[in-house]
């Protein structure tokens, strides 16, 4: 249980990360990698303030002080009850009274900017690390949070050049003030997966050793485009000579209403036996090894960790020309096709099935390229910029 602690002002500026949650989604995992590196390699005092909890809470707590402000909810309010909302915000804000006034507030994802309402008068530097593109900023972010995000930050970090371009072109942030720091992962994780575990995962979806497993890992929502994933599977598997190809979407929450639609489409298209919906896994690196090919059908994605994890497992990545992933894939670590050309994506899958040597060569390129995203390589680069913003 997250017990409120008595405020006591920190005696030196901290690096305070604001997070929307500490769950197994991309930005919190990124933050965890960064914290591990900071803890091992610097003496900067850190803290994480999160709106919600999540499965990674123990790991965060083992590294730094974690305050989950949204849980437990101190005052349950009906929507639109202004005095009660203000009272609740005051209770949450009181838990941050001990912040050193010159601490750096590091907004990790645009969603986390909501936490700024609890420290409205903070005088220290504010860094916005944006992982979102149009869907995240234009569609999902409430107007009040948009105002906070584009009025306060002193420094901007973008998760990919696509994110930086979007911030500049659509939101007027000067492009030369945005630093691009691509996401980071532990590239060694897939190498620690045993062959038997991989074989077992493949067996669990009915894929034999000679089958091609086309996979992806993501939550199921409109932006991630599971509808296009089903269409891709239907295209590849349509026809008389049905190839030995299985499609696996890992990260499914069976309670999501879209799952019914996914299963319906797979059933009506006659591919229910080849389209596998796998629950959220705490062994994503093992699934990456179980895949032969990683596809990213997302309508947009800033620079997904999952694709980097696939590359670390030596798997080529196929994506749409949408978002930041083409910056990684280029022309040799997989393939980039026009959005929404599912037919072209299907042709790539078919080609890489028929030409395993090409597939392996592309996987090797991906494996080599992902080294630059390894935590020991990427974190010092970020720290070189970040350390200059921390008041001494």
């Amino acid at each position: 249980m997250n017990r409120p602690t008595l405020p006591h002002r920190s005696d030196r500026p901290e690096l305070v990360f604001l997070s929307h949650a500490v769950d197994r989604s991309g930005p919190p995992i990124y933050l965890l990698h960064l914290l591990r590196w900071l803890t091992a390699n610097t003496d900067v005092p850190t803290r994480v303030v999160s709106l919600n909890g999540g499965a990674l809470e123990p790991e965060f707590r083992s590294l730094t002080r974690l305050q989950v402000l949204g849980e437990p909810n101190p005052i349950r309010v009906r929507r639109g009850s202004r005095p009660l909302t203000q009272a609740r915000n005051a209770v949450r804000g009181a838990r941050l009274r001990d912040l050193h006034p010159r601490s750096v507030l590091y907004i990790n994802t645009a969603w986390s900017v909501r936490l700024m309402q609890y420290v409205p008068d903070h005088a220290g530097p504010v860094v916005a690390h944006v992982h979102e593109l149009e869907v995240g900023l234009d569609y999902h972010l409430p107007p009040a949070d948009t105002d906070r995000l584009f009025s306060r930050p002193d420094h901007w970090v973008a998760a990919s050049a696509a994110v930086a371009d979007n911030l500049a072109q659509r939101w007027g942030v000067p492009r030369d003030e945005i630093l691009v720091h691509h996401e980071m992962i532990d590239v060694s994780a897939p190498t620690q997966v045993g062959g038997e575990e991989v074989a077992q995962l493949r067996r669990s979806i009915g894929a034999g050793p000679d089958a091609l497993v086309v996979g992806t890992t993501a939550v199921v929502n409109w932006r991630k485009a599971p509808d296009l994933f089903v269409e891709l599977a239907a295209r590849v598997l349509r026809g008389v000579d049905r190839p030995d190809v299985h499609f696996a979407w890992v990260g499914v929450d069976e309670r999501a209403p879209e799952i019914t639609a996914l299963r319906r489409d797979a059933r009506r298209a006659g591919i229910a036996d080849r389209l596998h919906l796998v629950p959220v896994s705490d062994r994503p690196e093992a699934w990456m090894r179980a895949f032969d090919l990683f596809v990213l059908p997302a309508r947009e994605d800033a620079y997904p960790l999952a694709a980097l994890e696939a590359a670390a497992a030596g798997r080529p990545v196929v994506c749409f020309d949408a978002g930041g992933m083409p910056e990684f894939v280029g022309s040799d670590a997989g393939a980039v096709v026009d959005f929404p050309d599912v037919d072209a994506m299907a042709a790539v899958v078919e080609r890489l099935r028929a030409e395993p040597a090409v597939r392996r060569a592309m996987g090797d390129v991906a494996r080599a390229r992902v080294e630059r995203h390894d935590v020991p390589v990427a974190a010092p680069r970020l720290w070189a910029d970040l350390s200059g913003w921390i008041p001494r």
Binding site: E134, V135, D138, Y139, W222, D227, V230, E231, A234, R238, E258, A261, R264, D265, R268, A269, G270, R299, E300, A322, F339, P340, D341, V342, D343
Partner: protein, 393 residues
């Protein structure tokens, strides 16, 4: 009996969420409001929904479980008095259901009311629309109440006649009537009117005058509608059809936020000058009629009434095949089904549908009394329902 001497008919509904069966009921209520010989109607619904305002505009309406309501039971419930609230609600229902006039049940979910319906109520007519899911989702006790209390059944299709019979209805008391179509202003449908609609559309969206127009209809709710519409447009556009094809999505009353994902896909697919969006609050039969083909891009449940409307206006209909869905209500002359999720096949079907000579607009005589199309109009179907409601038991 009401003050003006007309009988009062109680219409029982389950939820007031928009649906094809509710659209048919709305057409009936609208006809009752304007036809001099129609009975007065009062609506009693179990649950609210986003179509509540439409229903209220046509007939006095009471919703039993209305969270926004200010009825005595609701006030008691808000005060935390759960048990008194339940007692007050039961008393209120008993009073409202102590009627002597006819009772029309166009929504089987409203079977719940029939347990409490007074013994002196007039004839009870249960209507299973062709576009409904029949009695599939009705609780067994409520289904039994429907069978026990129904004096007559109206069914929209042979399949629904079987549903009623399997539930225990007497076949001799089952009458088949088409679901009612909402085609307000259908009398204006002639070549000049459609030419005007088409010209305005072309001007508003910058569509070349000689381009073909493929129309899709529905609200915007990802994975319900428009589903594959942008994908179909994209596949069609990259084919050489010999004829320029533009696409129009008609989103009934959609807000900009609802349209955002659709606009996002259109923009990112580079189709801004090819796929257009119209918003409107009524069934856009005039836009369907002004188009060359109705593309039903839904992957989920079909909209058979929409299909039927298009077919009645001589517009071909294309849809994804679904053996699990209700009858499409469109004969082979007017519709083509393609395999589920086969975007290529759908794009080919669109291209083929717009290559031929555009069918002439149907004209008013298409709906003249005695024609096949006329049976779908409230002016014909409405009196048929009333006749069944007013027959003595």
């Amino acid at each position: 009996m009401s003050a003006d001497g007309r009988p009062t008919c109680l219409v029982l509904l389950g939820t007031l969420e928009p649906s094809e069966p509710l659209a048919s009921t709305l057409a009936f209520l609208e006809w009752c409001r304007t036809a001099p010989d129609a009975p007065r109607v009062e609506v009693l619904a179990l649950h609210p929904g986003t179509a509540a305002d439409q229903v209220r505009a046509l007939a006095p309406t009471t919703v039993v479980y209305d969270p926004q309501g200010w009825s005595l039971p609701r006030v008691a419930q808000r005060m935390g008095l759960q048990k008194p609230a339940a007692v007050l609600r039961a008393l209120d229902l008993t009073r409202r259901l102590r009627v002597s006039g006819p009772v029309y049940v166009p929504d089987p979910e409203a079977g719940w009311f029939l347990h409490r319906l007074g013994a002196h109520a007039g004839p009870v007519v249960v209507h299973l629309h062709a576009t409904s899911s029949g009695l599939q989702h009705v609780d067994p006790p409520d289904r039994q109440a429907l069978v026990d209390r129904a004096d007559r059944w109206i069914v929209g299709s042979d399949a629904m006649a079987d549903v009623a019979a399997e539930a225990g209805a007497d076949r001799s008391q089952v009458t088949e009537l088409p679901d009612l179509l909402t085609l307000p202003g259908i009398g204006e449908l002639d070549a000049d009117f459609l030419a005007t609609v088409r010209r305005e559309l072309h001007e508003r969206h910058g569509i070349p005058v000689d381009a073909a127009l493929a129309v899709g209809v529905g609200n915007v709710d990802w994975w319900t509608v428009p589903d594959a519409f942008v994908r179909i447009a994209w596949e069609t556009t990259r084919r050489t059809t010999g004829r320029d094809v533009h696409f129009l999505w008609v989103a009934d009353g959609a807000t900009e936020r609802m349209l955002w994902p659709l606009r996002h896909d259109i923009r990112h697919a580079g189709l801004e000058d090819r796929v257009h969006i119209e918003t409107g609050s009524r069934r856009p039969w005039n836009l369907i009629a002004a188009g060359d083909v109705l593309v039903s891009s839904r992957l989920g449940d079909h909209e058979p009434i929409g299909h039927r409307e298009a077919a009645l206006m001589e517009r071909p209909v294309l849809w994804f095949d679904d053996p699990e869905a209700p009858e499409p209500l469109v004969d082979a002359d007017h519709g083509t089904a393609v395999p589920h999720l086969d975007i290529d096949a759908m794009a080919a079907a669109v291209a083929e549908a717009v290559t031929g000579e555009r069918a002439a607009p149907p004209g008013q005589d298409r709906f003249a009394p005695g024609t096949e199309a006329a049976a779908w109009l409230p002016a014909i179907g409405g009196p048929a329902i009333v006749d069944l409601l007013q027959r003595t038991r």
